[in-house]
Amino acid sequence: MIEIVDTGPLNTIQDLGRPGYRDIGVTVSGAMDPLALTIANLLVGNDAGAAAVELQTFPVRIRFQQRTAFAVTGGGSAMLDGETLPPWWMQIAAAGQILEILPSKTSARAYVAFEGGVDVAPVMGSRSTSLRGAFGGNDGSALRKGDVLQLGSPASGVFPAGGFGVVPPLREMASLFPKAENGALLIRALPAGEHDLFGADAERFWAEDWKISAQSDRTGYRLSGNPIRLTEPVEMRSHGIVAGVVQVPPGGEPIVQMSDANTAGGYPKIAGIIEADLWRLGQARIGTRLRFVRASHAEARMLDQAIAAYIGDVEITARQVGRALKAMAGR
C-alpha cells in the first residue's frame, strides 16, 4: 500500500486508457504521456499498461507502507527521503520512506509506477480516472491527501538494490525529435478533413507559432495565436474525434483534443497530430510555444516503429541488467 501524504489538485490514476467505447460517448482517458507511463511500468516489472499515478500539480508526497519498487518518469524531480533521484529512474523504497516529487522545468507531467501496479477496480477494462465522467481510478476522483492505494501482486521482477534508470526518450532518440531555432516545440501532424477549406489560412496554421493557453487541460489544449478562418462558412454535422485531432472553432484559435478528448464534435478539423508526437504535447506546459510541421504517413509510421524499438530495448535490457546485477551481487 501507499499513502498520499500530500498532493496538488487534478492528480489521477491512469493507465493506457479505455478505447472501444467512444461509440457510446465514453472518452478514452489514459496517460497524457503514454510513453512515460509505459517505461515506468517496465522499470518495475509491470505490464506496460498497468495503472500508475499521473502527476500534474506539485509537490506530491507518497509514503510507502511496505518495501516497494517504484519508478518515476516523465517530468518531475523526485527525492526519496531527501535523496535526489536521477530522471527516469527506478528505486526500491523501504517501508516508511517518503517519495517527494517536485515540478520539473521542462515537462508538465510525472508518472510514478509501483511494482504490481495501482490496484483499483477496472471500469470498462481500464483503471484510468475519468474526472469528467466521475468514474474509474480512485472512484472517479483526483488523488486526495490521506488516500491509501492498494498495490497489485508484484511480478517476479529482479530489481538491483541500487536502482537503475533509462536514457530518456528525447535524449536516446534526439535525432528523431528536432528542435526549432526559436525554441518552439515542433509537433508533426497530417492535414485533416477540412484542411483545404481554410484556403490561405491553412498555410498560416503551419507557418506560425501557437501558444498553449491557460484554457488547457486533459480534455484539450486551446491554442492562442493569429486566428485562422474558413474561406466561407460551412454547415457540418458532428463527427467522431480522437486525441490528436486539431479543430478550429469559429473564433479561429485551434483546439487540440487530448487524452480526455470529446467523443464527437462539429468544428472543422484542420490537422491530426501523429501519435509519435502526441506524448510530447502531453508534456508541454501552459505557455509553451509550438509550431505544427506537416508530416507524411510514412514518417509517422517510421517514428512509431522507432519508439516501439526503444520500448522493446528498454524491456529486454532492463531484465538482462537486473539479472546480471543480481548475479554479481551474489558472488
Binding site: P86, P87, G162, V166, E172, D313, V314, V321
Partner: protein
C-alpha cells in the same frame, strides 16, 4: 572441460576473428586469478589484451561494477566533490539502461579516470577518491 590458455596468441586471434565476424566490439572473461579483456579495434581483426591480477584495490578508487559506456550526462557534477556513501557519481550505460556508479563510503571524489562515453569493463577504475576529511 580443459582450461583455456588465454596467453596463447592463436586462441586470441581466433577469439578476435569470432568477435569481428559477430559484429561484437569486445568481450571480458574472468577466471579465478585473472581477467582478460579483448577489444576489437576498428574493422581489422587486431585486438588488444590486458591481463590483470584480479580486482584492483578498492582503497582509493571506485571501480566499474559491470561493463558499459561511461555516462556523466545523467548526473553532471564538478570535481572535486564531497559525497556520502551511496551517492551516485556517474552511470554505466548498457543500451538504453543506466546503472548507477555509487560511492561505497563517504569520501572526496578527486579525479575522473576515464573519458566520457568510454567503454569500460568490470573492475576498471573510474574515480580517484580520498578519505572524507
Amino acid at each position: 572441460m580443459s582450461k583455456l590458455d588465454f596467453t596463447d596468441p592463436a586462441l586470441l586471434d581466433a577469439l578476435a576473428a569470432a568477435l569481428t565476424a559477430a559484429g561484437v566490439d569486445g568481450i571480458e572473461i574472468e577466471q579465478s586469478s585473472r581477467r582478460l579483456r579483448l577489444v576489437v579495434e576498428g574493422k581489422s581483426t587486431r585486438a588488444t589484451m590486458r591481463l590483470e591480477a584480479g580486482p584492483a584495490s578498492a582503497a582509493n578508487i571506485i571501480t566499474a561494477l559491470m561493463a558499459g559506456i561511461f555516462d556523466l550526462e545523467t548526473i553532471p557534477s564538478e570535481l572535486p566533490r564531497t559525497v556520502r556513501a551511496g551517492d551516485i557519481l556517474a552511470c554505466l550505460r548498457v543500451g538504453p539502461v543506466l546503472v548507477p556508479v555509487r560511492a561505497s563510503r563517504a569520501c572526496m571524489v578527486t579525479r575522473c579516470l576515464v573519458d566520457r562515453q568510454a567503454l569500460v569493463g568490470f573492475g576498471d577504475p573510474l574515480f580517484d577518491i580520498e578519505a572524507h576529511p
